[in-house]
Assembly symmetry: C2
Homo-oligomer: 108 residues x 2
């Protein structure tokens, strides 16, 4: 199991619209082969900054299978215009601890 | 519920020792008031790079209550010497999705 951590910076004033569009578009991720879970988080200290966490069965499930899919193309087309610059995504394996699930979503 | 995301860079060659010391020291976090869960993750692309995720009941549980505790002092004393520079920690609230728990730990 792999954790993708993507840091996102959204254009000023576009945050609420981004969150709405993301919620609609995220089904493209959650139906992908090898997908295990995701969470979009809004930063409290930096306006327009988000971190997207996605659990995948493997790095390839994200970088090969998902990125070659038509669902990714659709996701990218609807979401990427909101980004100030191309997001940075890194992959991690768990060393210690097991994060509990966030129990609720908070929306503006 | 708040997610703390801390990005850590560990001195070259000290990664295995850091992971062992962290596992021992992390009880200082997990017994803190307002703590809900944590996960230390090792980056696959960048050597010595880690991301620490901690769920807290509130920002204050981390930045006020925990940071004023003797447990934090002990944690800091054992862990901070491994860092190349002071780690950056930001706080987030969940917008969408609920990340599943990592089901297993992988250790070198």
């Amino acid at each position: 199991m792999i954790l993708e951590v993507a840091t996102l910076q959204v254009h000023e004033g576009k945050e609420a619209e981004f969150e709405t569009v993301f919620a609609r578009a995220s089904s493209a991720i959650s139906t992908a082969k090898g997908y295990l879970g995701h969470e979009l988080n809004r930063c409290l200290e930096r306006k327009g900054h988000y971190v997207l966490l996605v659990r995948w069965e493997s790095v390839d499930a994200h970088t090969v299978t998902f990125k070659a899919s038509s669902e990714y193309e659709e996701f990218r087309r609807s979401i990427h215009p909101f980004y100030v610059k191309s997001p940075e995504a890194l992959h991690y394996e768990s060393v210690e601890g097991g994060l509990s699930e966030s129990s609720r979503s908070t929306r503006r």
